[in-house]
């Protein structure tokens, strides 16, 4: 198939054809590289999102962050922070960043089959948008990690069910009791026998009911008589020239008596006012009397002093008694 080199066979436009092959290969490779770069988001402006997880197991570089099933971001780096938590750095293209709000919740789920998935849930799309380089915790839902817990809970549940359905379980006893009660209910006295626990008791209750019915009938008659008595009493009390009429007249008279009493009291009031004025005068008089008494006492002291003087100057006089005027 390979031609002899010497002499080379003549091929039309060989250099052109070689150039076509070269250009075709280069164009395809270049175009494919450009497409891959576009697909990897090289030409997009992105914003950074940092998710903090307890465990980054299953997270790989290049993984998608999905929102409603649509990929809106890509894991760029995973690193271990100083506090021992895993930091997952995600690049979100600016055009998709509007789905992420401050209230967005991020979850990381690991199914039994397939990769770990990082998802974003935004409940309120009107919240302020998530800022660049925001740091958010990621909630971890691990199906395989849940299995032991699930199995333990299931076992407890099954044990409870088994205990409930056993022959001597309370549920079974209750059902047996219910059966007894319904058996009784099927008898002559129906539900009453079921509730009271036997036909004798039910019969007594029914007898008692009959008697009460009779009693109620006689009570009815008594109340009719009582009605009649009340009508008569009404006439006696509230009728013309009845008790109430007389009472009203007496009250009118009592009113005039009371008015007289009020006048008498007014007069007594005036008398008391005058007596009060007299009392006031007497108090003033008492004040003057005190001054008078002081003056008298002073005069007496002067007289006593004078008598002492005379007694000194008149030593012969033996009668020192002095007669007051």
């Amino acid at each position: 198939m390979q031609p002899e080199s010497h002499p080379p066979p003549l091929i039309p436009h060989v250099e052109f054809k070689a150039a076509v092959v070269l250009v075709l290969a280069l164009a395809l490779i270049g175009g494919f590289l450009a497409y891959v770069m576009y697909a990897r988001g090289v030409f997009e402006s992105t914003q950074r999102l940092v998710l903090v997880a307890d465990d980054s197991e299953g997270v790989k570089v290049g993984m998608d962050l999905t929102f409603s099933g649509f990929p809106i971001g890509r894991v760029q780096r995973i690193e271990l922070a100083e506090d021992g938590k895993a930091r997952i750095l995600i690049d979100v293209p600016s055009k998709d960043a509007r789905w992420l709000r401050t209230s967005t919740v991020f979850t990381m789920e690991r199914g039994l089959v397939g990769d770990t998935r990082i998802r974003a849930f935004t409940g309120v799309l009107d919240d302020p948008p998530l800022p660049d380089a925001a740091m958010r915790p990621v909630l971890r839902g691990d199906a395989s990690a849940e299995i032991p817990h699930l199995v333990a809970t299931m076992r407890a549940l099954l044990e409870n069910l088994e205990r409930m359905s056993g022959t001597d379980s309370s549920l079974n006893t209750s059902l047996a009791n219910a059966q007894t009660v319904t058996e009784r209910m099927k008898g002559r006295y129906g539900a009453l026998a079921g509730v009271l626990g036997g036909e004798d008791n039910a019969r007594k209750v029914i007898t008692a009911l009959d008697r009460s019915n009779a009693l109620l009938a006689s009570v009815g008659e008594v109340s009719a008589k009582l009605d009649r008595i009340i009508v008569k009493a009404d006439e006696r009390v509230f009728g013309t020239a009845g008790v109430m009429d007389e009472t009203q007249k007496t009250i009118v008279q009592l009113d005039s008596v009371l008015r007289d009493a009020r006048d008498s009291l007014k007069k007594a009031d005036a008398v008391l006012a005058e007596a009060q004025a007299v009392g006031a005068n007497a108090r003033a008089a008492t004040t003057d009397l005190a001054a008078l008494r002081a003056e008298v006492e002073a005069s007496l002291r002067k007289v006593a002093h004078l008598v002492d003087e005379i007694n000194r100057k008149w030593p012969f006089a033996r009668d020192t008694e002095l007669k007051l005027p």
Partner: protein, 271 residues
Amino acid sequence: MRQSSSLHRGLIRIPGELGAAFLAWCASWWRVFHFGALALVMALSPATYDRENRAVTARQIYFTAWQVLPWFTLLSALLSIVLIRIVVATTQSYGLSQYALEMLVRVLVLELIPLLAALFVALRSGAAINTEVALMHIRGDFDALRRAGSDPLRRELVPRVIGSAVSVVALAAVSGVIALLLAYIGVYGFSPWGLAGYTRTVGHVFDPQVTLGLALKTLLFGLAVAVIPITASLETPREVRLAPVAVLRGMVRLFLVLVLIEGASLAVKYI
């Protein structure tokens, strides 16, 4: 007594012969790497491409790439369609169809098509180059060229290496792009609405390491397809009856190297 002494001599001779064979093996591989490096350097230096050399290189590209391109493209497209159908149907029956596209891209574009292109070029041009160079070597054409003041390496051998490298890369590129298109149609049908998801998956598969690995692997395939047969031809003693031996050794070694490159690339990627 004489027998035992000859056996003794034979026993002494065996390790020496083994050592000599090992040394020859090492030297042979060394010549492969040396010639490969030399060819690469000459292919990359602009001085190689003078007027006459350009014509020779163009002829090599014409024979190894232009002539086989339509047939190879058709063949690889058919193979791709079959594989795509198998993968899509299987993943659908297992409920794993979301992984079908990624698997197709990885299996077809990254592994199968470059290997297929290299094997195709090896079968079509590698064997021809091997025979031709072996015959030229035995006939003494290279010595004649050398006497005429022309470098046989530059004039005859490097254009063949460039031709097969370009051929492998071009075939792999064309078939790879066609396989990508067929994979899109196979997974999404003729609807344009799968494009976003498709782009995302392709971007996911072709991270920088994988892309670089694919380029390197394809280039190595292209070089090996010409370099190993040429080295094997030049190593043969100049006897016409040994020409088939040269072709045999060259082709076996070439397949070994292709498998080794593919295995190494898989090991780097997945282990």
